[in-house]
């Protein structure tokens, strides 16, 4: 189907974009890569009266290492670049790995980091990765910028802390060590995952003891990315064992035509074991090096 008629604007500054958002209330939508918004418009699930295209704004596609070792990523950075960029791969390899799993190449060429986060599909890779990384999101509104941590940003099915008059401009990702893992199961390469898990673990080099930090996040297993807190505790309280972490996973996944809730729950445990094993193997490699 074709989208309902709308008016289109491509502002050249953030202030112009914000005033356009303010002028039309709920009926104004921001267009970044359009890989989620446009299908919803074509299916007439959304009928915005005005689209504000952010692609004319300067600087939103920057990737900048930060003095604290982390990295700042502009909201308009497209998935393919996120997957390939050497700075992203160095500072936050788990985010590059997650980006590689988003959709097909043609989707990754257009879809943006900011768009994926603002859309907040519960089966999407990037929201889960940023929750696991404890990233900060910078939102600009008419009252100025504010910073929201990923845990507060995602609020439910396709629901975020982003107000209708705000624009997500930047994501700040802390650097992480070698202890990362990523695993997902999709019916076909490029499909939304039935379930997936991102694990980010840390422990002192050379140690075989418990982790000093562990963040394990599932996607496709709830109405938003879900931290597996019990599994995290297993890894920080004793010598880490992927199978014990997997056994501690609890979640309440949805059922649909593709998979039952029980199967998704099974996948959440299996994929946790896989992602934690990857993370521990990388930590062990680092210890030896």
């Amino acid at each position: 189907m074709k989208p309902a008629p709308f008016r289109y604007a491509r502002p050249a500054t953030l202030d112009e974009a914000l005033s356009l958002l303010n002028s039309g209330g709920q009926d104004v939508k921001v267009l970044a890569g359009g890989q989620s918004l446009v299908p919803m418009m074509n299916l007439r699930l959304l009928r915005p009266t005005v689209l504000v295209d952010l692609n004319g704004l300067p600087g939103l596609d920057r990737i900048t290492p930060r003095p604290d070792g982390g990295i700042s990523i502009g909201a308009l950075v497209r998935h393919e670049r996120l997957a390939q960029d050497p700075r992203v791969r160095e500072h936050t390899p788990v985010l590059a790995e997650a980006a590689r799993h988003v959709g097909h190449a043609a989707i990754r060429h257009r879809g943006t980091l900011g768009g994926s986060l603002a859309h907040a599909d519960p089966a999407a890779e990037l929201p889960a990765a940023l929750l696991a990384l404890d990233a900060q999101l910078i939102l600009h509104g008419s009252r100025g910028p504010r910073t929201v941590v990923a845990a507060d940003f995602f609020q439910g099915l396709l629901t975020t802390a982003l107000a209708p008059d705000e624009i997500l401009t930047e994501v700040r990702v802390p650097a992480h060590g070698r202890g990362w893992g990523f695993a997902e199961v999709a019916r076909r390469s490029g499909d939304f995952a039935l379930a997936g898990v991102v694990a980010v673990l840390d422990r002192p080099a050379g140690s075989a003891g418990s982790c000093v930090s562990a963040r394990i996040v599932g996607f496709g297993v709830g109405d938003q990315p879900v931290r597996f807190l019990e599994a995290e505790r297993v890894l920080t309280s004793a010598r880490p064992d992927p199978a014990l972490a997997a056994a501690a996973v609890t979640c309440d996944p949805p059922a649909d035509v593709h998979a039952s809730a029980a199967y998704r729950r099974h996948l959440a445990a299996v994929l946790t074991e896989d992602a934690v094993s990857q993370a521990l193997a990388r930590l062990d490699d680092g210890g030896r090096a």
Binding site: M1, K2, P3, A4, P5, F6, R7, Y8, A9, R10, P11, A12, E16, L20, L31, G34, Q35, V38, P39, N42, L43, V50, L51, V52, D53, N55, G56, E80, G103, H104, A105, A106, I107, H109, R110, R188, S189, G190
Partner: protein, 163 residues
């Protein structure tokens, strides 16, 4: 372009030709190519980014032309199946599709050729797994995938053979 408008004038390059046209804001790139430019080689299937039939190259990268509005393409260079076809005869990839019987109804073929062109530009000698991964987003409703993979393998072999 900072005042919302329901029609805009865009300048872009389509298959090497400079084009200046007015388009409604809601016109997809796929419909712009087919209806306004008469380039009906770009096929429109699902219109929500799933089937891959409408895949074209924008600035050399594969995109779903049903998920872009033509007005977003101001200043871009678009290549369709017409632009991938030489003035005389067929490109080696197209010829390989004919030789390997890699098309049945032909509906997915323009998107397959665009995707294969991009793949072979990046990976001149792709593995079968790379080929299958590259075309995973292109649905062939005739399910003729085996011959499509063979055609892309043959096109890659043709390229690596010195003329």
């Amino acid at each position: 372009m900072n005042t919302p408008a329901d029609r805009l004038t865009i300048r872009l390059i389509v298959n090497g030709r400079h084009v200046e046209r007015e388009a409604p804001a809601r016109r997809s790139l796929a419909d712009f190519l087919r209806e306004d430019m008469g380039l009906t080689g770009t096929h429109v299937g699902c219109e929500h980014g799933v089937c891959g039939a409408c895949t074209v190259l924008v600035d050399g990268q594969s995109v779903r032309s049903c998920l872009l509005f033509a007005v977003q393409l101001d200043g871009a260079a678009v290549t369709t199946i017409e632009g991938l076809t030489p003035p005389e005869g067929l490109s080696p990839i197209q010829q390989a599709f004919c030789d390997a019987h890699a098309m049945q109804c032909g509906f997915c073929t323009p998107g397959m050729i665009a995707t294969a062109t991009e793949l072979l530009a990046e990976h001149p000698a792709p593995t079968e797994a790379q080929i299958r991964d590259a075309i995973a987003g292109q649905l062939c409703m005739c399910t003729g995938y085996v011959n499509i993979v063979r055609a892309i393998q043959a096109a890659a072999a043709h390229r690596s053979t010195p003329a």
